[in-house]
C-alpha cells in the first residue's frame, strides 16, 4: 500500500461512517457471546431491514464495550446510549423507538454513569466502537497512520526516543521501561531479531489482554510493526492462549487483513522495511507467560523458565535478540506516536504514565473491563467505578495483580495504583486483575486457593517453587481443617521468604504474595482458624476437623 492509498481509504471510510445517522454496536466479545450476542446481532440486522432504516443505521459487530455485567451490551451512537441485557425480543423495540422515532428507550438503558466517569480509554480507544474483523473500520479511526509516520518520517532511534520520553512501562506486570527495553534490543548484535507480543494471560479472573485482542487486534499488530521497525526485527510472534478461541480467530483474521493490505509483509509503505507476524498458540500453562518460558514454548519445548542473564534482548528466540512486550504495551504505541510523548506523559502520575486496563471482578456491583489513568486510588476503582460490594455486604479486601498479587485491606484503599506503591504494599501490577472480596470470603481459604493455583502451574524446575509451594499449600489447607499451631505461622513466613527469594522466575518469586499479605493484614483470621478452630467467614471446616491424633 502506498501512503496516499491509506489516506484515501481512511477518508472514504470516514465518509461512509458519517453517511449513517446511527450506528448500533453489538458487543460480541467472549463476555457477551455466551449470552446470545450473535443472535442479538442478527436480530438487529433483521430489524433494521424490516423497519426500513437500513440506509441510515449501521449495525456493527464489535468487541468489548467494557460492561460485562450487563451482557449482552449494545451501544448506540451518536450519544453513546448503552443498552443492557439486550435479548432478541427487545431488539425490535429499540430499533423502532430509538432509530425510527429518535427516542432512546430509557428503561433499557444502563443508567450507571459513574462507571465510565473516572475511566480514560487510550488502549481501549476503539473497543466497542469498531468492527475488529473489518480492517477498514480501524483505518477509518486513524489506524496504521502511526506506522506510516514511523516508517516515512522517523528514524528507528527517533521512534525509540519518543517511546522512551513517554515514560511507558511494560504492561505485563514487571513495569520495565519500554523505551529502554527497545533500545537494548536495537543495540544488541545478532540477526534476525524477533518481536514477541505476550498474550498468555493465564491468570484466573483476568481477561484484559484477551478483550483487547478481541476488540482491537490491529492496534496490537500496528504497535508490533512499529516496535519491529524501531529495533530492527523482521519477524514477530503473537503468543496467545489457546483457551481464547475468539481472540485467536480475531487475531488470525486481522493478521491476514493487514497482510493483504500491505501493512505486513515485504516493503511496507514502499520502504525497505519488511515485517511479518505469526500466531503461536499456548496450550494451557500459566508459566508460559514468563519471559523466558515463552521463548521455550515458541521453540516447541516445555515452557520452563531459564535464569537471566542472558536477557532475551541479547539472547532470545533461537539465541537471537528478541523483544518481548505485553500486547497492551504494544497497543499504547500507535497513540504515543500520533499524539506525542508529551501528551502521554501528562497522563497518570510522575514515574508512572499512561493508563492501565484492569478486569474488575469478584464481589463488586459493576464487574467489567476498565481502563484507568495510573495513580487512581484503589478506592476510586472499587467504589466509584465498581460501585462497591453487593448490598448488605461489607468490603473486606481487594487483590491486585492476578494469582500472585497481594490482598490489600480497607485502610489501604487510598493507595494509588502505580508500580512502586503496589509493590511496597505487597501487591503487584501483574497483567491487570482486580478482585474484590467481601465479608463472605475467608482470607485463609483465598490464600490457599491462589497457592493451589501456583502449585498447579509451577513448572517444577526449581525446588522452592515446586516443593515449597506445595508444602505451603498443605499447611494452609491444614489451617482450614483445624490443623496447625501458632508456631506454624512463623514457619509459613520463613518458607514464604525462601520461595520468594530463591525461586528462579517470577511465578515462584511472587507466588507467596497472597499468603504474605493476608498474614500481614488479616492475621486475626489465621489466629481464629488456629486457636478457636473457627472461620469468621464461615467457609472452612466443612470437611470435618483435623486428622485423628494430631494436635
Amino acid at each position: 500500500m502506498k501512503p496516499d492509498e491509506l489516506r484515501n481509504l481512511a477518508q472514504r471510510e470516514a465518509e461512509l461512517r458519517k453517511s449513517y445517522r446511527y450506528r448500533i454496536n453489538v458487543c460480541c466479545s467472549s463476555g457477551c457471546m455466551p449470552f446470545g450476542a450473535l443472535k442479538v446481532l442478527s436480530a438487529f440486522k433483521d430489524a433494521v431491514k424490516e423497519l426500513g432504516v437500513e440506509e441510515e443505521c449501521y449495525v456493527a459487530r464489535t468487541g468489548c464495550i467494557g460492561t460485562c455485567s450487563i451482557a449482552p451490551a449494545v451501544l448506540v451512537e451518536p450519544g453513546d446510549y448503552l443498552y443492557q441485557n439486550v435479548t432478541t425480543d427487545k431488539v425490535k423495540e429499540i430499533v423502532k423507538e430509538h432509530i425510527v422515532n429518535g427516542r432512546p428507550v430509557k428503561e433499557m438503558l444502563y443508567g450507571n454513569e459513574a462507571y465510565f466517569k473516572k475511566q480514560l480509554r487510550i488502549v481501549l480507544r476503539n473497543a466497542g466502537k469498531i468492527d475488529p474483523l473489518r480492517i477498514e473500520d480501524y483505518i477509518a479511526v486513524g489506524g496504521y497512520y502511526a506506522l506510516l509516520k514511523a516508517l516515512t518520517r522517523m528514524t528507528p532511534e527517533g521512534v525509540i526516543e519518543e517511546v522512551a520520553l513517554s515514560g511507558l512501562k511494560g504492561r505485563g506486570g514487571a513495569g520495565f521501561l519500554t523505551g529502554l527495553k527497545w533500545r537494548y534490543v536495537a543495540r544488541a548484535t545478532g540477526s534476525p531479531k524477533y518481536v514477541i507480543a505476550n498474550l498468555d494471560e493465564g491468570d484466573p479472573g483476568v481477561f484484559a489482554n484477551r478483550t483487547l485482542a478481541e476488540a482491537d487486534p490491529h492496534a496490537i499488530i500496528e504497535g508490533m510493526a512499529i516496535a519491529a521497525y524501531a529495533v530492527g526485527a523482521s519477524k514477530g510472534y503473537i503468543y496467545v492462549r489457546s483457551e481464547y478461541p475468539l481472540a485467536v480467530e480475531t487475531l488470525k483474521k486481522a493478521i491476514e487483513a493487514a497482510r493483504s493490505m500491505g501493512f505486513l509483509g515485504e516493503k511496507i509503505f514502499e520502504t525497505v522495511f519488511s515485517f511479518d507476524i505469526e500466531l503461536r498458540l499456548g496450550a494451557g500453562a500459566f508459566v508460559a507467560g514468563e519471559e523466558t518460558a515463552i521463548l521455550a514454548s515458541i521453540e516447541g519445548r516445555r515452557a520452563m523458565p531459564r535464569p537471566r542473564p542472558p536477557y532475551p534482548a541479547h539472547s532470545g528466540l533461537w539465541g537471537k535478540p528478541t523483544l518481548i512486550n505485553n500486547v497492551e504495551t504494544f497497543a499504547n504505541v500507535p497513540v504515543i506516536l500520533l499524539k506525542g510523548s508529551e501528551w502521554f506523559a501528562s497522563i497518570g502520575v510522575k514515574n508512572c504514565t499512561g493508563t492501565k486496563c484492569f478486569s474488575l471482578t469478584g464481589k463488586v456491583n459493576n464487574p467489567g473491563l476498565i481502563e484507568v489513568p495510573m495513580g487512581i486510588t484503589l478506592g476510586e476503582v472499587v467504589f466509584e467505578i465498581g460501585g462497591g460490594v453487593p448490598p448488605g455486604r461489607k468490603f473486606k479486601a481487594v487483590q491486585v495483580g492476578g494469582p500472585s498479587g497481594g490482598f490489600l485491606p480497607e485502610n489501604l484503599l487510598n493507595l494509588p495504583i502505580d508500580y512502586e506503591s503496589l509493590n511496597k504494599a505487597g501487591a503487584i501490577m501483574g497483567s491487570g486483575g482486580i478482585v474484590v472480596l467481601d465479608d463472605t470470603s475467608c482470607m485463609v481459604d483465598t490464600a490457599k486457593f491462589f497457592t493451589e493455583f501456583c502449585v498447579d502451574e509451577s513448572c517444577g524446575k526449581c525446588v522452592p517453587c515446586r516443593a515449597g509451594l506445595y508444602k505451603l499449600y498443605k499447611i494452609l489447607d491444614g489451617f482450614t481443617r483445624g490443623k496447625g499451631s501458632l508456631e506454624d505461622l512463623n514457619k509459613v513466613e520463613e518458607l514464604c521468604e525462601f520461595i520468594k527469594e530463591a525461586s528462579l522466575c517470577g511465578l515462584g518469586q511472587t507466588a507467596p504474595n497472597p499468603t504474605l499479605t493476608t498474614l500481614k493484614y488479616f492475621r486475626d483470621e489465621y489466629i481464629a482458624h488456629i486457636v478457636e478452630k473457627k472461620c469468621p467467614a464461615g467457609k472452612c471446616f466443612k470437611n470435618g476437623g483435623g486428622e485423628s491424633g494430631v494436635e
Binding site: 463476555g31 455466551p34 479472573g205 484477551r210 499456548g282 496450550a283 471482578t361 469478584g362
Partner: protein, 172 residues
C-alpha cells in the same frame, strides 16, 4: 517425506492422517513446530495417543521422551480419550469466589469420579479450567460447549442429566 511412520506405529491411513502430514509439511518438518503440530493432531483426533505421539516424533525427528514431555507439560493436551460429553467448570478467581468449587464437588459426588477424569462408562468427563473470561457472569460452567452463567450446582446437574438422557434415547 520420510514414510517410516504410520504402519510402524499402527495409525490408520485416513483423511486425518493426510491432514496431519500436510500440517507437518507446512511447518517444513521443523522441530520447533512441535506445539503447533500437537494442536493440529489433537484437533483431528480428539486426543493424543501413543501411536500418534510416536508418529509425530518420527516425522519431526525428535526424541520420543521430548515429545511426551511437551505433550504432558501443557494442560490442554489430552492423552486419554475424553468422555462422550464434557463438562468444564471455570475455576477462575471470580468463579471460585462465587462458589464454583461447590458445583465441581456436586458433580463429583453425583457421578462418583474426580475432576480431570471420565466416568467408567466413558459417557461423561469433568474438567476444571482457569478462567474462561466470563467473570462478570461467574460462576460459569460449560456443558458440551454451552455456557451456563451464574450457574448453581442444581442447574448444572440438571443440564447434565438432560444431555445424558437424550443420548440414551438416541442410542436406543
Amino acid at each position: 517425506m520420510p514414510d517410516t511412520g504410520f504402519q510402524q506405529v499402527g495409525l490408520k491411513v485416513d483423511r486425518r492422517l493426510t491432514l496431519l502430514e500436510n500440517a507437518i509439511k507446512k511447518h517444513q518438518y521443523k522441530k520447533d513446530a512441535l506445539l503447533e503440530i500437537l494442536h493440529t493432531a489433537q484437533e483431528l483426533y480428539g486426543y493424543l495417543d501413543r501411536s500418534l505421539l510416536t508418529y509425530i516424533s518420527k516425522l519431526l525427528r525428535l526424541p520420543p521422551s521430548h515429545v511426551y514431555g511437551v505433550a504432558t507439560f501443557y494442560n490442554l493436551f489430552k492423552l486419554k480419550k475424553p468422555g462422550a460429553h464434557v463438562v468444564t467448570v471455570c475455576m477462575g478467581t471470580a468463579c471460585y469466589v462465587k462458589g464454583a468449587e461447590e458445583i465441581v464437588s456436586t458433580i463429583e459426588k453425583e457421578f462418583n469420579f474426580k475432576r480431570g477424569e471420565t466416568t467408567e462408562d466413558g459417557r461423561l468427563s469433568l474438567f476444571v479450567t482457569r478462567c474462561i473470561g466470563a467473570c462478570a457472569m461467574a460462576p460459569n460452567a460449560i456443558v458440551d460447549g454451552e455456557t451456563i452463567g451464574k450457574a448453581t450446582p442444581e442447574e448444572v446437574l440438571k443440564k447434565i442429566r438432560t444431555i445424558l438422557e437424550a443420548a440414551k434415547v438416541e442410542a436406543r
